[in-house]
Symmetry: C2
């Protein structure tokens, strides 16, 4: 808990410094002594736990089961799928030894050279290889399919530039890995799961997303199609928030996973994988928060209502607190989490600022005058509107407010996002919008990797996706002038 | 799912082979391609998830919060607490490089020698060092205390001989790490948490435990006192099921964590840590199961009731299934998990054997004769008793049975455990009981490490604990003949 509430950097002065201040000062996470690895602090972890619970239930409701696969992957497994190794080899943490020993020269402990592994182990950056090596033993016939597994795990990708939650060497995530009889079934699974992600990110996090296909250049290493949900942050940059991959038969072929199909013939198994990570915490923070701190949607807030007694002396405190506890008990009966903060070593104003910083959706304060008048002060975090309302009916009012705030947060983010989608028809306009406005840009593209890479090199904008709902529309590529049949979604991104 | 239900090895022929068969054939876990690392399969993971949920709630109910700390620990951190490094240095997985590259000779990928870390990173075998290095920044004054954090995580200890769940290189666990103002508060915390573990292992897993202090020789590396719960397996060997450590000020001193106390003076912080792991899965399996397979306590069974329709032809199936679905719906309303297995490609006898193997607490089967008679066949897994009972009242009966089975499993394990505690007064008797009967032995010990080590070397028995409830009793050490004031608990162990 912050001992001193220092001001956050203003969002308009430096968005990235504001973000970092907020993550640290709201007690969400901090950098650790290990390069690129973060400590997720209790308040941040409590939000992540709520995300996990909701997602886990959605996975189970769609027929998936959890399992757990090894942290380590033998180096040779990586080479088996050519694109996969190319995609991940440059950011792998490698275990080479399995023992330390005392330094014979007396300088602490050293790696024991006698304990070198025959084959190096990679700390998983993702688990397709070890899982498909395992599935080989689970699958003989179509009767063993589908396999619908998910894993909650930590993974490591050695990033050179890291930012709390958004890009860390170690992060927490879930990875679904499914195996299917037919291409159609695998395609349907990949699509179903990107839909689950969309429902979660919009319905729980209050962050609107655009769903679509990645271009070939932005696909997952080893996938034949990558579906993505793309969110827009308040600084006009996009954030890829979840991906779902149709892997074709690539991993089945790499690990020789065949099954006897309904015709009794051997065929390779079809695969998907899909994942979201603690990066979603970054999306949640950046999408809604303001210069006073976090703004949390009620569905993910560890504390939904904070109550602060205003008093002089212990007698007044006892009276006010008794009344607050009565209201708290009623709210808890309705499944609303409540904290009463009666600390006497900090002023009320300090508490108000602290819970604003922490994004608690509703604040109730009550003092002797409220006691006399039968009123209570209510502040909602999303709008910072303050009202004095009757104590009578406060429980109904707060319960309703939970839904209202959840909806308002989403609506506000949606209005902003929609205002930040610009259609452009020339490359000059494209560059001007990128620099002056930011946000998503819908533009024609000739469908080639060369054009995409050239645009990226010149502007730092990438194709975020080819939206599912992009209508057919004849046009010409803003870069090459070649024909195009639909607009795709560009943006600079995290 | 086992395609073919092969017989388990008989428990009396080879307990260890029976255990391994059971873990694999019941679909709980299997060895992976990575030495010493297991794959936890969906059915096994579903049990672990139930354990996690229950424990997590117990931790929260006692005021703890979850957080997450890095997977990697800088090597130098290890050297800071002398006993700690000595205890863990010999079983550490060491990350030395952060990149792979294509072999210039074209032989797949190799570790990039240019990507050598300046300081090697250890994959955490436990997290005291990285956590206390973090706490240093969280603690300035007594107002910042206590810190009551828990982490759910994977850890790695490079074991040479591994066994599924019982001893694996990577395992899943939780580790609590708390920081306190006073010695008394830390001692009370360590004691409270071993009590939580006892309540969980007895109340949920149905496994009775003996609680006590570890001898100095068996203490956690870096602890001043280690509390333990010790369970007895059916082969008469003990299994340490959870430990809670009073760490004194050792880690605070190693990482220079001081706080301003209530008198305004600087003092070192007091610490505890405590953990249970997927090893509990091994205890659960070994404590109750039989030659037909797993026996699961209802509170941890992923499927509590399985229903099997007996039928000829689709019409009969439809009638029987409709009736079963009605009962299932009623059971689910009471929070009981039910599976109806109407597969038509395996016989009922195969299904019966399969759910016995998987330890489903209650099996209900219904055929046309039952439909006519208003009856249903009920088999409870713990006793394998079979009855034909009226359909009327079946929901109440099954609900009551959940509690009865939970209690019966515990009572049976308790009777066995109590029958396997033997008091001995001579070393000859000690050795004879160990070899002929096994189990726990209560004997006098002179309190020295030398005697403990000598007994261990000669008999493979160790002091499992000095039980909390060991009464004062004057006697002489069975080994040295020196005076002793209480009996301690010996056993051979996992």
């Amino acid at each position: 808990m912050a001992k001193e509430l220092k001001e956050l950097t203003n969002k308009d002065d430096s968005y990235s410094q504001w973000y970092n201040d907020l993550v640290v000062k709201a007690g969400l996470a901090e950098n650790s002594a290990v390069r690129g690895c973060m400590v997720i602090k209790p308040y941040g972890y409590a939000i992540w736990e709520k995300m996990q619970r909701a997602l886990d239930q959605m996975f189970k409701d769609t027929g998936h089961e959890n399992a757990y696969f090894p942290l380590f992957i033998p180096k040779s497994f990586f080479s088996k799928e050519a694109h996969h190794v190319e995609g991940f080899a440059k950011e792998c943490a490698v275990v080479t030894h399995y023992r330390l020993k005392n330094d014979p020269e007396g300088k602490g402990v050293i790696v024991d050279p006698a304990a070198k592994l025959e084959e190096e182990l990679i700390v998983r950056p993702t688990s397709e290889t070890i899982i498909w090596n395992t599935y080989k033993n689970w699958i003989q016939s179509y009767r063993d399919l589908p396999i619908l597994c998910n894993q909650w795990a930590n993974v490591v990708r050695w990033e050179m530039r890291t930012r709390l939650f958004l890009r860390t060497a170690e992060f927490l995530w879930q990875e679904g890995h499914t195996a299917h009889e037919t291409k159609e079934e695998a395609l349907a699974e990949a699509k179903k799961m990107i839909g689950v992600y969309k429902d979660f990110v919009e319905g729980w996090m209050g962050v609107p997303v655009i769903v679509g296909h990645k271009s070939e250049n932005e696909r997952f290493a080893g996938a034949e199609d990558t579906l993505t949900i793309e969110a827009l942050m308040q600084d006009g940059k996009a954030l890829q928030s979840g991906t779902s991959h149709f892997l074709g038969q690539n991993f089945a072929k790499a690990f020789d996973v065949q099954f006897a199909n309904r015709e009794g013939k051997l065929d390779y198994v079809w695969a998907t994988s899909w994942g979201v990570s603690t990066r979603l915490m970054g999306a949640l923070i950046m999408a809604h928060s303001d210069n006073n701190g976090l703004v949390l949607p009620p569905k993910l807030a560890p504390i939904q209502v904070v109550m602060i007694p205003i008093y002089k002396g212990l007698e007044e405190l006892a009276q006010v607190k008794a009344r607050l506890e009565g209201i708290a008990a009623e709210l808890r009966k309705r499944g609303i989490s409540v904290k009463i903060d009666d600390r006497d070593n900090v002023r009320s104003g300090f508490k108000f600022a602290e819970y604003e910083l922490k994004g608690v959706p509703v604040r109730l304060a009550m003092g002797p005058r409220d006691m006399a008048n039968g009123t209570i002060e209510l502040v909602r975090r999303d709008t910072l509107e303050k009202e004095t309302v009757p104590q009578e009916g406060i429980v109904d009012r707060v319960e309703k407010l939970m839904g209202d705030i959840q909806q308002n947060i989403f609506d506000k983010a949606l209005r902003f996002r929609d205002s930040m989608i610009t259609r452009v028809d020339t490359y000059d306009e494209f560059k001007r919008v990128l620099d002056e406005k930011g946000g998503f840009i819908l533009a024609h593209w000739d469908g080639t990797v060369e054009t995409e890479v050239a645009i990226k090199d010149e502007t730092k904008a990438t194709i975020r996706c080819i939206p599912f709902d992009a209508p057919e529309e004849e046009g010409v590529c803003i870069y090459s002038g070649k024909p195009s049949h639909r607009r795709v979604l560009f943006a600079r991104n995290y």
